[in-house]
């Protein structure tokens, strides 16, 4: 009975969305437990026995995702809406060694990267970031080649989310197919009810968590009702809504439009937006070496930089800010739909917050949609 109502409710919530994030698998696992906040630490300690934990932690002047050492500290979630930097770096670090090599006389010996990866949980991520991993999964496994470095970590990683009670002013996840309480892409999710958490297992992989929450009571109707109320209120707090149903077609028709000059006019061509973005995944490959050997590393790169596409001959296909700005928007809102049938943006709003010149992605999208409507 409860489940049915929930489904209906979510359906109602999602009717405006282009993609229904309601996961049909959700219904198979009806493990929903109540965890009082003062027992939360013991849950963490239990998980820590078997997993490395990546949690939001108080750092200097802000809150950051970091590895937890619960032996010396009692862990509670710090207060946060969302973090300035996405947790992308734990699966796709800014600098990653691909392999190393040794010089032996005139010969070369390649040594594969040996990395021991422990089972880990990224704990307390918001729905938008959970969806970003889904996008990265799709991208890194697409085509003929799957990315071994990403998946060596991804396959060992479980995601436990924390539903978003207070979206930020820049959030627009509902416009790109997400929702503050969405459990898409997660293995389990926590709902913060004030004094208690609801711990709900979402995916098949998440069943592993059952043994850690066995001792806790099941949810009751009152809690679920409270959760629904919170979900509605969280959704209501999102200030920006745009209909992106036709964005692929809209962008198709606007490639040569002069709006891009206008949109790009204020861009400084720095990489701040792509470095905080949870779905930006372009990288550069560099060699480091000395007399006896060296290594090949990949590092984050960003499409806003003028040297991103500069060829050795001096030719640069994306030479001006206009083309680079256009590329970033097209990549996320057109090419992604063409290639993988999903949007490449999760609406976390980080790029809007971080931009030194306040180039607002929402504004750009608004311009695109309005211009396309007029045409």
């Amino acid at each position: 009975m409860v489940k049915k109502r929930k489904k209906k409710k979510e359906k109602q919530e999602n009717q405006n969305n282009q993609k229904n994030q309601d996961n049909p698998k959700d219904q198979q696992y009806s493990i929903e437990k109540i965890i009082p906040k003062d027992k939360f630490d013991s849950l963490i300690k239990g998980l820590y026995k078997d997993f490395k934990l990546i949690v939001p932690k108080e750092a200097e002047n802000e809150i950051e995702f970091d590895y937890l050492d619960p032996e010396n500290e009692k862990y509670q979630f710090p207060e946060y809406q969302n973090l300035r930097v996405s947790p992308k770096k734990f699966l796709f670090p800014q600098k990653e060694v691909l392999y190393s090599f040794e010089k032996e006389g005139t010969g070369i010996k390649i040594k594969e990267k040996e990395e021991k990866i422990d089972d880990q949980i990224i704990f307390g991520i918001r729905s938008c970031d959970a969806r970003s991993y889904k996008i990265l999964d799709t991208f890194f496994s697409s085509g003929k080649y799957s990315d071994p470095y990403y998946f060596s970590k991804r396959n060992k990683t479980l995601l436990i989310g924390l539903a978003c009670n207070d979206p930020m002013s820049t959030c627009f996840c509902t416009s790109v197919g997400g929702a503050p309480f969405s459990s898409e892409g997660l293995d389990a999710i926590l709902y913060d009810l004030g004094d208690n958490y609801i711990f709900k297992i979402i995916s098949e992989k998440g069943i592993i968590f059952e043994k850690y929450v066995k001792e806790y009571p099941d949810v009751n109707k009152v809690d679920l009702k409270k959760k629904e109320e919170l979900a509605t209120s969280a959704r209501g707090k999102i200030q920006f809504e745009i209909n992106l149903d036709n964005i692929e077609k809209d962008l198709d028709s606007l490639f040569e439009s002069d709006i891009w000059t206008k949109v790009a006019r204020r861009c400084l061509s720095c990489g701040a937006c792509s470095y905080v973005c949870p779905t930006c995944h372009c990288f550069d490959v560099q060699d480091k070496s000395d007399k006896s050997g060296g290594k090949r590393v990949r590092i984050w790169d960003n499409c806003q930089s003028s040297i991103f596409t500069l060829e050795a001959s001096g030719h640069n296909p994306r030479n001006s800010g206009k083309e680079r700005t256009r590329q970033r928007i097209y990549h996320k809102f057109n090419y992604y739909l063409k290639n993988y049938k999903i949007l490449g943006c999760v609406g976390c709003g980080r790029c809007i917050k971080v931009c030194p010149t306040n180039r607002d992605l929402r504004e750009s999208l608004k311009i695109v949609v309005e211009t396309a409507e007029k045409a």
Partner: protein
């Protein structure tokens, strides 16, 4: 060493040794490298997938990696040829190398020339400058005794700035002697030692006037040549679906992950480098 596993990781190069280095042009900024695989397993893996028109990533250890079109054909077993122009830091270092040096290779990448579709058709091959590399691979493949009868007439138009700039002079000489190839070599301006055609590639193409009937055109060259050759082909009656171009973009990974070589929604490294004119018309190009 566990070879199977190593090859499964597309980022890890196989080792090859430089066996020969041959200068190709008078200016000496273009050299052909003959590479031999160190391990037979690696070689077999490579040749399993290899088609003319593909490229490979060549690693100069400690310096970096460059995508280079493969100039040899799969029919030339045992070795690979790469014709490399001295432009960036990797190619500069390669040009300074000596025989016997080990370099890395990853590949083959890309789609290659559409050979299946070309079977039974007349082929027009148009190239300019040192971009002739993958066209050489194609021609060598086509005229191999096992393959020649699968294809119709072969017309080649190859233009360079001056006689010294032609690559693969030995091959050209050999092809010129064959009666199953219509080979047209041209240079941009008159030159005392030059007895053959003079004129830009589009002009010569117009003069040679290959028939579009049951034909396909394969074009590779500098952007300016492509720009003026496509209209000529269209004038001759070639449809967009019959014209195939090999594109170039800055690449890093070669496997569609690093995100810089896209032309519209397609990556040149995995969806290309060969696109038909019809495909390109739909793509959004910077």
């Amino acid at each position: 060493m566990n070879h199977k596993h190593e090859l499964d990781n597309p980022y890890i190069p196989s080792l090859v040794t430089i066996e020969e280095i041959n200068p190709e042009n008078e200016v000496n900024d273009l050299k052909t490298f003959k590479l031999i695989f160190n391990e037979t397993v690696d070689k077999e893996k490579f040749f399993e997938k290899f088609k003319p028109g593909q490229f490979a990533e060549i690693t100069e250890f400690g310096i970096g990696e460059s995508p280079i079109g493969i100039a040899s054909s799969p029919t030339e077993e045992d070795y690979l040829l790469f014709t490399i122009k001295k432009t960036g830091k990797v190619t500069n270092r390669l040009h300074d190398s000596k025989k016997g040096k080990m370099v890395g290779i990853r590949g083959p990448f890309g789609n290659g020339w559409p050979l299946k579709e070309a079977e039974g058709k007349n082929l027009v091959i148009i190239g300019g400058g040192f971009a002739f590399t993958t066209l050489r691979s194609l021609i060598v493949y086509l005229i191999h005794r096992n393959n020649r009868e699968k294809f119709g007439d072969i017309t080649i138009v190859y233009g360079c700035r001056n006689p010294g700039e032609f690559c693969y002079k030995k091959d050209l000489e050999e092809w010129g002697k064959r009666d199953d190839i219509n080979l047209n070599l041209t240079i941009d301006r008159e030159h005392p030692d030059w007895k053959k055609l003079v004129g830009f590639v589009p002009t010569i193409t117009k003069e040679v006037a290959p028939s579009p009937k049951n034909a396909m055109a394969f074009v590779c060259g500098p952007p300016i040549m492509i720009k003026y050759t496509s209209p000529v082909l269209q004038e001759l009656g070639f449809k967009d679906e019959q014209i195939f171009l090999s594109l170039e973009m800055r690449m890093k990974c070669g496997i569609g992950k690093c995100g810089r070589c896209n032309v519209g929604s397609k990556f040149v490294c995995i969806d290309g480098p060969v696109f038909s004119q019809a495909e390109l018309k739909v793509l959004l190009r910077d």
